[in-house]
């Protein structure tokens, strides 16, 4: 069953067509990737889903609800969370506070309740703290809750950003280059962690990724964008051998002499991905 359906989504910036009549379907509890060269419109598509940008044409349906005309906060309430290509934490708030902002949609205290500190508000704050600490532990940041987000090391910041996104109890999690700037070991940890999110929490995951090793090992389906258009879609194996994809990445005429190693490392990790799926 599809959790997210995009029909003929188009987004233009002036004369530039960033996303062009994109059709896209995402199955519930799937892990899927969107890949493509720089400027292919991947992040713009994410922005259209989360309401940062409004699609000029087409519609996006999430869990049966059309969301392409909704504000970002409404979309977030429906259960879509995201992370960002260049980490966007709240730098001058502590790790714990960052997660608690993520819980915002699930809290109901009014300002008057906060001032008088009604029993209901106090109980809710207590629960929120508890939940935030639980999420810290879940992403392995226990003991760092009082550190300002800006002072956390890079890897921790990535994980904190995911914890903040999870606080919203999302049904769909959009990860924009979750392994950017990570070494192979860290990337592998991140891949395992993303699988855990799906397996343990049942969250559907859509990611943008440039590390082919990560993409090929984790994705059940891959969509390839180029100049805002979908040029290919399929399993990792299908994508690896698709001549249009190779052309988009390496230029016309490269398909014939595609280097072996561009394919091999991902093939070796493929069985793991199919086992998880």
């Amino acid at each position: 069953m599809a959790i997210l359906t995009a029909k003929k989504v188009t987004k233009r910036f002036g004369g530039l067509v960033a996303v062009n009549a994109l059709d896209f379907t995402l199955e519930k509890q799937a892990i899927a990737s969107i890949i493509g060269p720089n400027g292919a419109g991947k992040t713009t598509f994410f922005n259209c889903i989360t309401g940062f940008n409004q699609a000029d044409e087409g519609e996006i349906i999430f869990d049966g609800v059309p969301i392409h005309r909704l504000r970002p906060d409404k979309i977030s309430h429906l259960g879509i969370s995201r992370t960002y290509q260049n980490i966007r934490l709240f730098p001058n708030m502590t790790a714990l506070e960052n997660i608690m902002v993520g819980l915002h949609a699930h809290l109901h205290a009014t300002w008057i309740g906060a001032v008088v500190r009604t029993p209901a508000t106090r109980a809710e704050e207590e629960r929120a703290h508890e939940e935030a600490r639980r999420l810290l532990r879940f992403v392995g940041l226990q003991g760092k809750g009082d550190v300002l987000a800006r002072n956390l090391p890079y890897g921790d910041q990535r994980r904190l950003e995911i914890a903040r996104a999870l606080a919203n109890k999302p049904k769909l999690l959009l990860l924009d280059e979750p392994t950017a700037g990570m070494n192979p070991t860290e990337s592998e940890e991140m891949v395992a962690f993303i699988r855990r999110l799906r397996d343990e929490l049942g969250i559907t995951i859509l990611l943008i990724e440039h590390h082919m090793r990560v993409v090929m090992s984790i994705s059940e389906r891959i969509t390839v964008l180029d100049y805002g258009e979908k040029i290919a879609e399929g399993t990792p194996r299908e994508i690896q051998t698709n001549p249009r994809v190779i052309e988009a990445y390496l230029g016309r005429g490269s398909a014939a002499d595609i280097p072996e190693q561009a394919v091999r490392p991902s093939v070796s990790t493929l069985p793991a991905s199919s086992a998880a799926g």
Partner: protein, 569 residues
């Protein structure tokens, strides 16, 4: 050349030139002369002389400190002499040039009287006196630097105590003289008609110095003893301290007299506005340069509703009118917020600047004159009553201002620690991400404007009660600027910082009213120095303190386990 710049001597020359520039500046703008008339210790030393001494001493001390520990005493002393000498030398130059060329065409304060003062009465023939004097002061300061800290600190504080007592001598004398008997006697003993008596100065020196000495020796043991107390006793101690503070706050205006009470009321009103702006600007990051608008709306509402004069419409009591004023300020917050919701950063500052001016021009306009009194304002606003007690003067309004500020500070703390406070800070940090996390930007921003406006509104209502009349010119841009400045000086986003900022920027200038001409000059200099030396404010909120002094924080937090050891709660 670059090696030359590394030399300690070169540094000392630079410091000396800087000290000299300060001294020259003080002389040429006339501060030395004007302050020469107000004595710190009667017939011994005037404030003007203190300033000159301080420039020499300061240069010497800074130079000595720059040279630092590893070098020998002789180098430190000689550097002090060089810096002090250059500071004095510049003044010598002024005297020489001034006696040959008439400088008064440009600097009206470069008078013979100034030269006489600089040369201790010798005139142009004694031009060498500042040079030698400066060198001597530099030597003295360097010697002072060489003293061990446990001697230096009490001495320094003793002198500081004398200086402060001398500055506020007039004020303290009036307070003491107000009560006949021992209090008036004490006043006559400590204070002369101008400044301190010699006996008073010695007493203050011994008191301040002695207390420092005592505290530095017993501080550790006192701390330790408190931590060793059982929990119950510590609690009692805390409550006793709190009780003492409350009693102090309660009796303060009766002891201090009307003037101090009035200053505190003004501080309280600005603290209220500061707490309001701290929500919109400090927490939510929404710049507002028209903040005075909320103050004005509430003050005018209270004025109209209570006035017994020609513009009064209801003759309500203050207690009924103030909530209406606060409510209207709150609604105005929403109205002001709506059109600027989509504007960010610098643009927002300019847009809101317009609001403040619109309100000021409206209340002063001829068009609304039949209702708001135009530039003549609203007169005859009665004082609030509590039962049969009229809050007639500043000594009574004081309670209104202090408890109003305390109440609002309490509300602000509660808001800061709530879901709403976190949403505000999230908007300040990254508006888009906050929205993507489910924060309703419209609602949250409007609440920031409304609550900020409400706080300022309470300030306006109390202002109306204090002054008893309201004029458009009280609602000028300078008020808004002052509120922003006190927020920056206190520490953006910090609630105690607002109080400290209001005391520093509103309280101190009021106390120094006798130096009226130079008040805002000093205010400006203080702001610049402040921004250079302590950009995060006097009492920064924990987060901002870490932001701007990252080097220090990194030292503290190099061990991640220690920073995370505190349970996250």
């Amino acid at each position: 050349m670059s090696e030359l710049r590394q030399l300690p001597l070169w540094q000392s020359v630079k410091i000396g030139l800087l000290g000299g520039a300060v001294a020259l500046y003080l002389c040429l703008i006339g501060m030395i002369e004007v302050f020469g008339r107000s004595d710190i210790i009667e017939r011994v030393i005037s404030l003007g002389q203190v300033l000159l001494l301080l420039s020499g001493l300061g240069a010497g001390y800074l130079a000595a400190r720059r040279v630092g520990e590893p070098t020998d005493a002789l180098t430190i002393l000689s550097n002090g002499v060089v810096a002090g000498g250059i500071t004095g030398g510049l003044l010598t130059g002024l005297v020489i040039i001034g006696s040959m060329v008439n400088l008064r065409a440009v600097f009206i304060n470069a008078s013979p009287a100034l030269y006489t003062a600089l040369t201790l009465g010798a005139g142009p023939n004694g031009a060498w006196i500042p040079l030698v004097g400066g060198a001597a002061l530099g030597l003295l300061a360097a010697l002072f630097y060489l003293l061990p800290p446990r001697v230096r600190q009490p001495l320094m504080n003793g002198l500081l105590g004398v200086l402060l007592a001398g500055l506020f001598a007039g004020l303290l004398r009036v307070i003491l003289a107000a009560r006949p008997g021992w209090s008036a006697e004490l006043g006559r003993f400590l204070f002369a008609s101008e400044g301190l008596t010699l006996a008073g100065a010695s007493l203050f020196f011994i008191l301040a110095g002695g207390l420092t000495l005592l505290w530095s020796q017993s501080q550790a043991t006192v701390r330790e003893r408190i931590t060793r107390l059982p929990e119950a006793q510590r609690k009692t101690l805390r409550w006793t301290m709190l009780g003492l503070a409350v009693i102090l706050i309660l009796i303060l205006p009766q002891v201090s007299g009307a003037f101090i009470a009035q200053v505190i009321v003004l501080v309280g009103i600005f603290a209220l506005m500061g707490l309001g702006l701290n929500i919109t600007l400090g927490m939510a990051g929404l710049f507002d340069l028209g903040f005075v608008a909320f103050f004005a709306i509430s003050a005018y509402t209270v004025g109209l509703l209570t006035s017994t004069g020609e513009h009064g419409i209801a003759q309500w009591s203050w207690w009924a009118a103030a909530p209406v004023g606060v409510l209207l300020a709150m609604i105005a917050g929403a109205f002001f917020g709506l059109p600027v919701l989509g504007i960010r950063g610098d643009y927002l500052a300019i847009a809101t600047l317009g609001f403040g001016e619109i309100v000021r021009l409206l209340v002063g306009s001829d068009f609304l004159r039949p209702w708001l009194g135009g530039s003549f304002g609203i007169l005859a606003i009665p004082k609030p009553w509590i039962g049969n007690l009229e809050l007639a003067g500043p000594q009574q309004i004081y309670y209104l201002a202090v408890f109003g500020a305390m109440l609002v500070a309490f509300v602000a703390v509660r808001l800061r620690d709530s879901r709403l406070g976190r949403a505000w800070m999230a908007i300040r940090e990254d508006e888009d991400v906050a929205e993507a996390l489910g924060v309703n930007l419209v609602q949250t921003k409007l609440l920031a404007y409304m609550l900020g406006g409400a706080f300022a509104g309470l300030g306006g209502a109390i202002f109306a009660a204090l002054v008893g009349s309201i004029f458009p010119h009280s609602m000028n841009l300078l008020v808004s600027v002052n509120v922003v400045a006190l927020l920056i000086v206190g520490g953006m986003g910090s609630i105690p910082g607002v109080i400290v900022g209001a005391l520093a920027l509103i309280g101190l200038p009021e106390l120094f009213r006798e130096f009226a001409e130079y008040r805002y000059l000093l205010y400006g200099v203080a702001l610049i120095v402040m921004m250079l030396a302590k950009p995060e404010g006097l009492w920064p909120s924990a987060a901002i303190r870490r932001e701007l002094h990252t080097e220090e924080i990194n030292e503290v937090e190099t061990n991640p386990d220690s920073s995370g050891a505190v349970p996250a709660s």
